[in-house]
């Protein structure tokens, strides 16, 4: 027997029931398309991201140290297992025209930039810059002061525009400079940096090309490497500490010795100077004494001499008196003496002459001789007098001369003494000047020494104050947007695992129903064919041909359309700086989908056919046994039933009678409503978390990250806070810890508030399920919900947290709090001290902010400038940034909405078609009875509306469950979303479903109008 006719018949059938064929095809197409498309989205996105990361050599780890990094660090890191390359590099956050930009060193082996325009820098005064904010030819100027010891140039000409894998998001991340927000970036030649140590080290892991970013393998690998790095962390920190310490203490020692030698030398000099001064002073004293002695001697000499002179003068005067007396006795004066002598001599001479003529014995002689003798005697006396006068005169003259000489001598001596005195005076002046100078110099020297000593002491103090350097190890999350992309991908992946399954389930049900319906409708033909002797499998194969051709076309079309459109739609809403999406068509996935769909559809067809074919051909040729009308349960409650209007009774009874159809409607429509609600709910969950986190849970306006840890807000800080209109500041300790259970790591912050009142004010902790308020008493450990969810832990379980130095602490959970962004563990100070074993110090202030006239960025800048804070975060910015981040997912939401709507349309179209075809006779009867079109329609339509309403209600319940289920998965995989669905979402999903239902009803209306009474009632066919 030739089967060609049989298959030709199939083709005819397709042509005849094109609507049904197409709806079958569309269901499969949409189902497969949605499934394949959403399945491929994650690999597609990961592929481009991973390719980009590999091409740009995105670092796997970035290490930053509070004290800089050295070549020794590089060498140490290079020795680690799993490290492929280690690159030490520089970056600086600097101010440029009021914005903070990050200046990176160009590297060839890591974080390679992607040039989109222009060229790479040749000169050190050139740079390549972020292509969003700069143009080639722009000048980038660093406006910070005192950059000499950091960077050579402060002005750079943009010669090329770039993209960098370090900046994957629209924003640039935060900084501890300026207003706390990074606004752009540039890359410059490494030579420009003149810093004493590297600012960062990049590590490229030996992951190889086989391990893709975001994959589990990648995570496992990097977690291990992270441990490795952490293992050497403290050694390297100490090494750096000692390097800095030794360096500094060496300098201090050197300075100290220098100071000491200089001091000694100076002291020696001072000593000598003093000694000389003292000697001079002594000499001067001696000279003075001597001088005084001399003066005294002279005075004495003058005195004795004058006495002697007086005596001599007296004697001479006496002598003169005697002489003068003698003279006057002789009647002479000194003036007449010589005359007297001459007279005497002449007298004598005369007498002698007279004598000579006289005889010797003459009286005359004798008289003359006597006269001569007498005269001689007289002469002698006079002569004697004369000689006395002469002698006396000589004596007197001699005396006078002596006195004069003496006086001159004495004058001279006195003069000399006077001169000596003057000299001594000058010397004394000089000496005292010398002393003054000496003492002032000494004083100066002493202060200088004291200063130098103080400086040294200070330096020594500083030395002991040198902080232990701290390494901060970042993974790729340090690339802005890397983690966001991951959580977005995770959410899509989660949705991808759940949604399409649900969808395919509905699609399969619908298809099987519509196939069963078709076969039932064609039972007459089946009967004819069997009675003609066609074997069951021949007949089944015609249906298989029908179904599988639709399945095949639908699956192929769906796969390629889905893989093409869906990733693009989702991707178009991802705002990441990544290369364009490269579509992949994974043939393995295709094969599986194709095989599964084929198998399922074949199974559905074969099962349905065989069920029908089991009947004898004769039975097949008869109409299907009429459906039995029966009382329904509700009729038993007669007081309700009686109250129902007639049409209501019919409607309700119909619904119960056509259970399968009602069931299918409910499955389809409820499924659609559930999907819509879930999609809207996820959207709510996304848009709600910002508000929930920063509006509801977190009650503070801002968070100030302090520069130095403190025990209390000191006066200075308080004054500053007041000046910035910061109110009710609460100190908290916020420190990063890791939770690690079963290889699953979760980053968490440990929050320790200074006091409970403040904590109550700013942290509105609520139990994640009961929403009861949670307090933080001694020994309380409150974790946030995602931690509980991920590790499936709760109250009284013990959680182990690990600090950055790998110290482990066990905490017993006493509460699980609602939370959406990040993970937190809250304990109070007492618990902290008990469990962590350290006195708690605070590093953060949370507070409210009264000032309205000052912008967030200004306030941040004030705080950073003040030196109190390194950055500041605002709750209201948090809401915004969460919203921006999660906008990425609107594509997925829209997709689910669209696909669910298509599903709803196809399902309802199918059901409507079935409904009408099953009830043509009934409708024709109504028409004959004179039912108006609207009444006929209402008869069917009420049923549809009620079914839709019920379906929507059920859909809402399923939706809530599905939503919870998906959100739980998302919570485990990516992020906590707000679990409450907004009432608008209920209304929206209900309305959309209802609208589709009503649209389908409109189509039904026209179909009903077309029903030909005469044809339908002719006979039973």
């Amino acid at each position: 027997m030739s089967y060609i006719l049989l298959y030709k018949n199939t083709l005819l059938k397709i042509k005849k029931s094109l609507g049904r064929y197409i709806s079958l095809l569309i269901i499969i197409m949409v189902g497969v398309g949605f499934y394949a498309g959403i399945q491929m989205t994650t690999p597609d996105v990961i592929k481009i991201a991973d390719t980009y990361y590999k091409e740009q050599e995105l670092m796997d780890f970035k290490i930053v140290s509070s004290m800089g990094l050295t070549d020794d660090d590089v060498s140490a890191l290079k020795l680690l297992d799993g490290v492929k390359d280690v690159v030490a590099s520089y970056s600086l956050d600097v101010q440029s025209r009021g914005m903070v930009i990050r200046v990176h060193a160009i590297e060839e082996k890591v974080n390679v930039v992607k040039l989109s325009e222009g060229r790479m820098p040749i000169l050190d005064t050139e740079c390549v810059a972020d292509n969003r904010k700069h143009k080639v030819g722009d000048i980038v100027e660093i406006t910070d002061k005192d950059m000499e010891d950091k960077i050579k140039n402060t002005e750079f000409t943009v010669v090329g525009l770039i993209e960098s894998a370090l900046y994957l998001a629209e924003d640039y991340g935060s900084t501890t400079a300026g207003n706390g927000k990074l606004s752009s970036f540039i890359f410059i030649n490494k030579d420009n940096f003149v810093l004493e140590a590297y600012t960062e080290i990049y590590i490229i892991a030996k992951t190889g090309n086989g391990i893709a970013a975001y994959s589990n393998e990648y995570k496992v690998f990097t977690v291990k490497l992270d441990e490795e790095i952490n293992r050497i962390k403290s050694d390297r920190e100490s090494a750096r500490y000692y390097e800095i310490y030794n360096n500094a203490s060496g300098i201090i020692a050197e300075k100290e010795t220098e100071l000491n030698t200089q001091k000694a030398k100076a002291e020696k000099e001072f000593y000598d100077a003093k000694k000389e001064l003292d000697t001079n002073s002594k000499k001067l004293q001696e000279g003075k004494k001597e001088l005084e002695e001399q003066e005294r001697l002279i005075t004495e000499t003058i005195k004795t001499q004058n006495e002697e002179f007086d005596l001599a003068k007296q004697q001479i005067a006496n002598n003169w008196k005697e002489i003068n007396f003698a003279l006057s006795y002789m009647g002479l004066t000194q003036e007449t003496l010589d005359l007297a002598i001459d007279d005497l001599n002449s007298t004598i001479a005369y007498m002698q002459m007279q004598l000579e003529g006289l005889p010797v014995d003459s009286i005359e002689y004798a008289t003359i001789s006597n006269a001569i003798l007498e005269s001689l005697e007289q002469l002698e006396i006079v002569m004697q007098l004369k000689s006395g006068i002469d002698t006396l005169s000589v004596q007197e003259r001699q005396l006078d001369e002596g006195i004069a000489l003496f006086n001159t001598e004495m004058e001279k001596a006195k003069k000399e003494i006077e001169n000596a005195k003057n000299e001594i005076l000058t010397n004394e002046k000089k000496l005292s000047d010398g002393y003054i100078e000496y003492y002032s110099n000494l004083a100066k020297f002493n202060t200088e020494i004291a200063d130098a000593k103080k400086q040294l002491e200070e330096a020594k103090d500083e030395l002991s104050d040198i902080d232990q350097p701290a390494w901060y190890i970042f993974n790729r999350d340090a690339a802005v947007g890397y983690a966001e992309l991951e959580s977005s991908i995770q959410i899509v992946a989660t949705v991808a695992t759940v949604f399409p399954l649900f969808f395919i389930l509905i699609a399969m049900l619908m298809t099987s129903n519509s196939m069963a319906r078709m076969i039932t409708e064609e039972r007459g033909e089946l009967g004819t064919l069997t009675s003609l002797g066609y074997k069951d499998r021949n007949i089944v194969s015609t249906y298989l041909l029908y179904v599988l051709s639709a399945t095949g076309i639908g699956a192929v079309a769906g796969f390629f359309i889905g893989c093409n459109i869906i990733p693009q739609v989702i991707w178009s809403n991802f705002v990441f700086r990544l290369p364009p999406l490269v579509l992949q068509y994974n043939m393995q996935t295709f094969g599986i989908i194709f095989a599964v769909t084929f198998a399922l559809m074949s199974a559905v067809t074969i099962v349905t056919c065989i069920r029908e074919l089991k009947q004898k051909p004769a039975a097949l040729l008869r109409p299907p046994p009429p459906k039995h009308g029966q009382q329904i349960f509700l009729e038993k409650i007669s007081f309700v039933w009686r109250r129902l209007s007639f049409t209501w009774k019919v409607t309700i009874r119909n619904m119960f009678r056509y259970k399968k159809r009602a069931f299918m409607t409910i499955v389809g429509v409820a499924g659609c409503a559930a999907l819509l609600l879930t999609a809207f709910g996820i959207h709510d969950g996304i848009s709600g978390i910002g508000q929930k986190q920063y509006g509801d849970i977190i009650q503070y306006d801002n968070m100030i990250i302090l520069k130095t840890e403190t025990n209390a807000i000191d006066k200075e800080l308080k004054t500053f806070l007041d000046s910035q209109q910061i109110t009710d500041p609460l100190l908290i300790r916020q420190s990063a810890y890791k939770i690690e259970i079963n290889k699953k790591t979760l980053e968490t912050y440990l929050i320790v508030p200074q006091n409970n009142e403040g904590f109550e004010k700013y942290f509105n902790l609520k139990n994640s399920t009961t929403k009861n308020h949670l307090t933080l008493n001694d020994n309380d450990v409150v974790i946030t919900q995602r931690i509980a969810k991920v590790y499936k832990i709760g109250n009284n379980d013990v959680i182990t947290i690990k600090d950055t130095s790998n110290n482990r602490y066990n905490l017993t959970i006493t509460g699980v709090a609602e939370n959406y962004i990040s993970n937190y563990i809250y304990i109070n100070a007492q618990t902290y001290e008990e469990q962590i074993g350290k006195q708690v110090t605070f590093n953060t202030i949370v507070s409210n902010n009264k000032a309205e006239d000052i912008s967030s960025s200004e306030l941040t800048e004030n705080f950073i400038d003040s030196g109190f804070a390194i950055n500041m975060f605002f709750s209201k910015d948090g809401i915004e940034s969460v919203r921006n981040h999660l906008d990425n997912l609107s594509g997925v939401i829209i997709l689910i909405l669209v696909v669910s709507s298509i599903l709803a349309i196809v399902v309802l179209y199918n059901l409507t078609a079935i409904n009408i075809s099953e009830r043509t006779r009934e409708i024709a009867t109504l028409k004959v009875l004179g039912f108006r079109d609207s009444e006929t329609n209402a008869y069917i339509y009420r049923e549809a509306i009620i079914l839709t309403t019920i379906s929507i209600a059920i859909g809402m319940v399923i939706g809530i469950l599905l939503h919870t289920f998906i959100l739980d998965l998302i919570e485990i995989n990516a992020i906590s979303l707000y679990k409450n669905i907004n009432w608008i979402s209920f209304i929206m999903s209900g309305t959309i479903t209802m609208a589709i239902s009503i649209l389908m009803q409109a189509i039904t209306y026209f179909k009903l109008k077309k029903i030909d009474m005469i044809q339908s009632l002719k006979s039973v066919e």
């Binding site: 039995h628 009308g629 009874r653 009867t925 004179g930």
Partner: protein, 234 residues
């Protein structure tokens, strides 16, 4: 007296693709108020077509139909619906009850759209089904189902009751009872009844017998003394 129904030169053509089938051609007859008319003819003669036109389920290709002085042939679709609703009660060969409604509800279904309808329960009592009103069609025999159908038709208080081979699917006994019921209703309620059959025996009970062949009226026979339905032999 003006007849209640007047069929004047009716022509009805069906066009299926390129083929034109003339179901009725130049078909004329009239029915007076309260008359029980039997249309008799072989299969394919055009009886059902006549009834369909009369029942306002379809319009003629040509000719005029007057019912109670109204030009039914000129009626729009909407007017036809109102006409069916108000003036026509229809009984089918295969009953066409709504399977999901009880006997009473099937009657109510019709009543609720007609303003001057009878009480459904009373009518069902009249057709002898007062104890089966809560039963679904599937729980009723063919004859009972047809009675429900008749009750549904007459409950509307139509001007004309149209029955298309109401006994066609029934055994003769049951059929006879149905015919009897129809005759009784017609006479008691003075309801103009047009009944199609190819069973010549039934013609005896009619006031007027219209014989149709090949789409045209062959003869119109007035039965001066119609037999009682119980009297006829099947």
């Amino acid at each position: 007296m003006v007849p209640l129904i007047e069929f004047k030169n009716i022509k009805k053509e069906y066009v299926i693709g390129d083929v034109k089938i003339t179901a009725l051609d130049n078909c004329s007859f009239s029915v007076d108020k309260g008359e029980l008319v039997v249309i008799l003819g072989p299969s394919g003669a055009g009886k059902t077509t006549i009834l369909n036109l009369l029942g306002g389920m379809d319009g003629p290709s040509d000719g005029q139909i007057f019912v109670d002085n109204e030009k039914v042939h000129e009626f729009s679709k909407r007017q036809l619906v109102e006409y069916r609703r108000r003036d026509i009660g229809f009984v089918f060969q295969f009953y066409n009850l709504v399977g999901n409604l009880t006997a009473l509800e099937n009657v109510e279904l019709a009543c609720q759209i007609c303003p001057n309808s009878f009480k459904p329960k009373a009518i069902l009592e009249q057709v002898g089904l007062s104890d089966r009103i809560a039963n679904f069609p599937s729980q009723l025999s063919g004859g009972e189902q047809q009675r429900v159908a008749i009750a549904r038709a007459i409950a509307k208080n139509p001007k004309i009751l149209l029955c298309d081979e109401p006994t066609g699917a029934l055994d003769s006994d049951t059929g006879q009872r149905i015919i009897s019921l129809l005759q009784k209703t017609c006479k008691e309620m003075n309801m103009t009844t047009v009944l199609i059959t190819h069973n010549t025996v039934i013609a005896d009970i009619a006031d007027k017998v219209i014989k149709v062949r090949n789409g045209t009226v062959k003869s119109v026979l007035i039965n001066e003394e119609p037999k009682k339905a119980d009297e006829i032999a099947w």
